[in-house]
Amino acid sequence: MKRILFSTAFVCVMALTASLLLNSPAETNPAGFKGVFSGYLSSEPSNLDPARGVDVNEASIQAKVFDGLVRYDEKMRLVGNLAESWTVSPDGKELVFRLKQNVFFHNGQVMTSSDVIYSLDRILDPAVGSPRTWALEKVEGAGARMRGEASTVSGITAIDDYTVSIKLTAAFAPFLSLLSMPACYILPSGNAHEISERSFFEKPAGTGPFKITERVRDSYIKLVANSSYHGQKPHLARLDIRIIPENMKAEMEFESGNLDMLQLYPANYERFKSDPDFAKRITDVPSLNVFYIGFNNQVAPFDDAKVRRALNMLVDREKIIKAVYQGRAVAANGSIPPGISGYNASANGLEFNPEEGRRLLKEAGYSKANPLNFDLYQRSAQSAFEITRLLQGELKKHGVNINLKPMEWSALKDAVSKGEAPAFYMSWFGDYPDGENFLFPVFHSSNWGSGGNRARFKNAEIDRMIEDSVRIQDDNMRAEAYDRINRKISGHAPWIYLWHASESYLTSEKVSNMDFSPMFFCDNATTLSVKE
């Protein structure tokens, strides 16, 4: 008996010893700033290195800690950030940025041209292995740098301590938009060693409006206002960001008053919307995305445009939007979402038209006796099933049989990239707010498979039109060109264009002036206020 008791006591002692292994951090609030915003992310931002980040949660923290040369403001206008001004040469091939002076990194280092050159060159440095090299691939000398044939990129040079020149191999009008991306945020070159060791990114020091003071991976990140911020200073003293992967848990935390913001999903939207107290604090934000059923355009039956067009016409998008999104989505008539250059709300000829759809299917050789059957690859998540089961039911009425193939996300991406999935339910979220981002990566033949063109769509004329459009410097003319391309691609129906969905957020009563940007990295939380 004593021995048993001893064993039990040993386990209890282990508990107490383990508890002593945890540290106790301290909290600080900078003077002159008021209020603490309690937010959350659905997953740990594993990588706060701008050059290596690919995730929305990573970008949301990076946007508060770092700055780029330019940024999109709360009205989605491109404005200077670390650059106070810039000029573009008449041929569109050289951009010269005049940097702000007296800008300091959180560790006290002053920001100059050398930091800009270091940070941008780093993206192309083969030793870094950045997944965002495409952001700068049109810079002169980028190819040689990426292949390791040059020690720096020749096209980015310092004219003086506060002037940087970037030369492109060809005019590329969306380039400024790409420079606003988190990948192009500026790091302190004085910390090159820690940056290359990656230890710098545990609590990185940028020039942004907030500094990271505490971080426990998978638990929380605390940021305090940067009192010497060069731009519009934040109102808030602190941002406490917790990592809460479970939606239901986040909901409970919000209702307990522990969170100031809650992202709503179709599953809980109706409940909050029907309560007048919550309803007035819900904001629907049209996000830059497109949801679609992609076809592998190279394999039967989807190598036949008639089949692809027919399936577009057999889907009643409005009905599904109403049922699943409670109306918080816009039916897509192309890949470009509302709110950016190239969007056009008018019809594209693929609208819900079951008679025409059935006629086209018949023309393509399908009938009741010989029905169209196909596998639809999708993520094995409830949110995906809600859509695909409805689609399955809708198409069944017209004699089309869909066999759902749910897969874990990594496996799905792999199958789609390799062209193994004949049809797949996916979405594309914009990396930067320019129509080109919804055309070139997803439909240009150079991006087949993992590059973004998952539908394996190939059309030389479209390729050329896309290449020509990005050389147009005039924004309006470029938008018209994007619209023409968008319509031309819709004519080939490489996807079933579904919708552009909004995201919905509920805020606590204490919160005001939250910047609900359609782009995940545009909000640097400087406008946000929280009553104490």
């Binding site: 008996m1 021995r3 048993i4 064993s7 039990t8 386990v11 209890c12 282990m14 508990a15 107490l16 383990a18 508890s19 002593l20 292994l21 945890l22 540290n23 106790s24 951090p25 997953s43 594993s46 990588n47 290195d49 690919v54 083969p126 292995g129 997944p131 090299t133 495409w134 990656r198 990114f201 545990e202 991976r217 998978d218 638990s219 929380y220 917790r242 990592i243 992967p245 479970e246 239901m248 848990k249 409970m252 935390e253 209702e255 307990s256 522990n258 897969m407 874990e408 996300w409 990594s410 496996a411 991406k413 792999d414 990239s417 990566p441 150079s446 991006n447 993992s450 590059g451 973004g452």
Partner: protein
């Protein structure tokens, strides 16, 4: 005892190697390209090939496995393919949360499980036994994600007796109570069932009748003669539960925001972060083997007959 310990210890090495090999092959076989997770949605074939090369994924399986073993023996678990952080450092960072949760849950389940089992056994067939049975069957059948969310809603959100998050930066124990309760309830219920049946069996044996005939007090018969003999199967169950707790509980850690090993492992699997997955498998295997070894040694210590049987010595 030393011979027994050494013999058991030497048997762990092939088991460990076997586990590592199986984990390695399974990782190799599952679909999903780790390079794609790192490269993001706009990765060209060249970038994917470069990342695969850097991670050594272009090498044949046997070469990868042998270089992996070589690194392990030199104490290097590698770096996370996603964050670049040393795997060992991350594991050391997260282990205290898992250890603390495991120890609290285990303490809870041992105390309540044994108590409920003993009460059930001595009140066999009466209402108290039925109540304990209902609770233990419910404890075994209700899934942890459901009980966790219900406890969270009732005790943290509505009654506000406990914080909603299990994480405590200040070493306080309060936030751990609810997660430990959630995690331990299943094992407590299971223990209660085992203790009950084991106790009933022991209490019906001849030596208990003899003890009663000798006029020993009921308490002495119950604890000194009954419980001690009923606890042998219980230790096996405790050992198995402890191993699984020490390997992290994804659901409890997720519901209660605990940055432990379970969540770390889950994220690594979803991101196909091979070095992290392999590091956690290694840790898990070591924990499992060590706890099993401890249980075996404990058996041998409590009951020398078992040791002799395991060493092949015949009973006197």
């Amino acid at each position: 005892m030393l011979e027994f310990t050494l013999r058991r210890l030497s048997a762990t090495i092939p088991v460990l190697l076997g586990i590592l090999l199986i984990a390695f092959v399974v990782l190799y076989m599952i679909p999903g390209d780790p390079a794609q997770t790192i490269a993001g949605p706009r990765a060209d074939a060249e970038t994917l090939a470069r990342i695969a090369r850097e991670m050594g994924l272009d090498q044949p399986l046997h070469l990868r496995f042998s270089s992996y073993l070589g690194r392990i023996f030199s104490g290097d678990l590698g770096h996370s393919a996603v964050s670049g952080k040393p795997v060992l450092e991350s594991v050391v960072e997260k282990l205290p949360y898992t250890l603390k949760l495991a120890a609290f849950a285990m303490t809870f389940s041992i105390i309540f499980g044994i108590l409920a089992g003993v009460i059930s056994a001595i009140t066999q067939g009466r209402w108290l036994d039925r109540v304990c049975t209902v609770f233990s069957v419910a404890g075994i059948s209700i899934p942890v994600f459901l009980s966790g969310l219900v406890f969270l809603y009732v005790f943290a959100v509505k009654l506000r007796w406990f914080p909603t998050s299990g994480f405590a930066a200040d070493n306080s124990l309060m936030p751990f109570i609810l997660p430990a309760f959630t995690l331990g309830i299943r094992s407590a219920a299971f223990l209660a069932r085992i203790v009950r049946s084991s106790m009933i069996e022991v209490l019906n044996q001849d030596f208990i009748r003899t003890a009663r005939a000798k006029g020993l007090s009921p308490a002495r018969i119950l604890f000194r003669h009954g419980l001690v003999n009923a606890l042998i199967p219980v230790i096996t169950v405790i050992g198995l539960d402890l191993s699984s707790y020490l390997n992290g509980s994804v659901i409890v850690e997720t519901i209660f925001d605990l940055p432990g090993i379970g969540r770390f492992a889950m994220d690594a699997i979803l991101q196909r972060d091979y070095p992290v997955i392999q590091g956690i498998v290694l840790l898990g295997a070591i924990v499992f083997i060590m706890v099993n070894l401890a249980v075996d040694l404990l058996y041998a210590w409590i009951n020398p007959k078992i040791r002799d049987e395991m060493l092949g010595k015949t009973a006197r």
